[in-house]
């Protein structure tokens, strides 16, 4: 069995890290930030909003392009990373750490079909060519 708290990735380049308390943190992958380049604006839902797995929940806009964000899990938004909203360069500098986007209370199971880090790296590698 793999670690249930392992970070997992979507094929649309978001990650989710279950915190073991029924909560999870969501962000975008290092591959995604590298592809986007300098992040300028984040459009994120407010606390209290409900996310549905696989559904659009916001957008990230970089110097290069605007890109929609898709939720890896279903849940209720508990917190939005205000540092990332006011200084979005943190998403480029530390996308899987300080540059997280949302904290959610999970509703239902973590979807199967999300990628573990190794599988995601292999997928992202293929995606960038």
């Amino acid at each position: 069995m793999s670690d249930p708290n392992l970070v997992r990735f979507t094929k649309t380049h978001e990650w989710v890290r279950p915190e073991g308390t029924g909560e999870a943190v969501i962000g975008i992958s290092d591959h995604a930030q590298a592809q986007l380049g300098d992040v300028i604006f984040l459009e994120l839902p407010a606390p209290g909003a409900h996310l549905a797995a696989g559904q659009r929940f916001g957008a990230v806009e970089s110097v290069k392009a605007a890109s929609d964000l898709y939720s890896p899990v279903s849940g209720e938004v508990l917190d939005v990373n205000q540092v990332a909203v006011t200084a979005p360069e943190i998403v480029n500098q530390d996308p899987q750490g300080e540059g997280w986007l949302l904290r959610v209370r999970l509703e239902g199971e973590i979807p199967t079909g999300l990628l573990d880090p190794l599988a995601y790296d292999a997928f992202a590698e293929g995606d960038s060519h």
């Binding site: 380049g37 300028i40 459009e43 806009e61 110097v63 605007a66 360069e89 480029n92």
Partner: protein, 366 residues
């Protein structure tokens, strides 16, 4: 066709650059981040490799007369040691390219856009008289490095020989040496900051780039890529060939009437430009987004629901603190200070409000 490697390609990779195809070359997009490199140039200095640009020498007893017919600006006013921004047009006024013309004791040097190099050269050859003028394409053996930013002079002055760098006025140039490398030193640039452009032999370019970077690091000099070059030039209101100006646009509509000297005598495209001046087809405007969002090329400019024009360059202005854009509208449809809409996403419902503002968006503190 695969992209050409610039002479400094290996050095850029060693410095961690992310390389992208541009105008047929693999060019550094960024080394650290566009934001960081942009701010370095505005606050301290940045070092750019723009060796993809083309250099064409024009010589011979009739060089001046030839250039007067070729370009729209008045080359006759150009003294030895001066540089001039200009465009060259087709008979119908369509812009073949924008370029810098340098005059030195031996003749003239035209600096053209990489993406236009082949077409420019063909065009320039077609305009040649039977004798009296010679063209020499020196693009392959010439590299161009740009040091841009308020600390450029302080960084370069101790490395230069051949006279006081600070004594070179804006849009002037002279021969000299930097770190012992023979260069043409030009006080020009594409960022809106003070700075110098250094033309050198390709064999010496790597040594020069590394040497300047090593000596400048302690003063905050960063290598800067095409990404920052684009946000900097957009803030400074500089047109980019292929986006803001093309064969389909003439310089009057593009707001470049100041480089069109209709009274200097005949030149290619003059008749069409006399007509354009009497009745411009389009207006070139600056737009500043009032809210969040980044305008992008090809997005429509709207008055209410009605399209009045199109964005040709758009990005985020790091020094302006807002999304900014330039583009064409129907004359009179978007006066300065008025508010227009910009379609921000594919979704037609997402329209951002923008104010029509004067160019440039950014002016360096004096």
């Amino acid at each position: 066709m695969s992209d050409q490697e610039v002479p400094l390609g290996a050095l850029h990779r060693r410095l961690g650059a992310r390389m992208v195809p541009f105008a047929g070359y693999q060019m550094p997009l960024q080394y650290s981040s566009i934001r960081e490199e942009h701010q370095a140039v505005r606050e301290r200095a940045g070092l750019f490799d723009v060796s993809h640009m083309g250099e064409v020498r024009v010589g011979g007893p009739d060089a001046m007369g030839y250039l007067q017919r070729l370009v729209t600006n008045d080359v006759g006013k150009l003294e030895v040691g001066q540089a001039q921004y200009t465009v060259m047009c087709r008979e119908d006024g369509g812009i073949v390219d924008d370029l810098l013309v340098y005059r030195d004791p031996d003749g003239y040097m035209c600096v053209v856009n990489a993406a236009r190099h082949d077409d420019d050269l063909a065009w320039m050859r077609r305009q040649l008289p039977p004798s009296g003028v010679g063209l020499e394409d020196q693009s392959d053996q010439t590299c161009l490095l740009a040091v841009q930013g308020p600390l450029s002079l302080r960084i370069l002055a101790p490395l230069a020989e051949g006279g006081e760098l600070g004594a070179i006025p804006y849009y002037h140039h002279r021969a000299g040496r930097v770190l012992g490398v023979p260069v043409r030193i030009s006080r020009t640039g594409y960022t809106g900051e003070d700075g110098f452009e250094l033309y050198c032999d390709r064999e010496a370019a790597e040594e020069l780039f590394e040497g300047i970077l090593d000596r400048g690091r302690s003063q905050g000099l960063l290598p800067a890529g095409l990404g920052a070059r684009d946000t900097l030039r957009l803030e400074a209101g500089f047109r980019l060939y292929g986006q803001d100006i093309t064969l389909e646009r003439e310089p009057i509509s593009a707001g470049l009437g100041w480089v069109v000297k209709l009274d200097k005598g005949d030149f290619v495209g003059r008749e069409a430009l006399v007509g354009a001046k009497a009745q411009p087809q389009l207006s070139f405007i600056g737009l500043r987004l009032l809210g969040r969002g980044i305008p992008r090329p090809h997005q429509p400019i709207l008055a209410g629901a009605e399209p009045i024009g199109e964005i040709t360059s758009g990005s985020y202005g790091f020094s302006v603190g807002a999304g900014i854009a330039m583009g064409y509208v129907r004359p009179g449809s978007a006066p300065k200070g008025s508010e227009v809409g910009v379609a921000l996403r594919a979704d037609p419902a997402e329209v951002g409000a923008a104010q029509v503002v004067a160019l440039p968006f950014y002016r360096r503190p004096t």
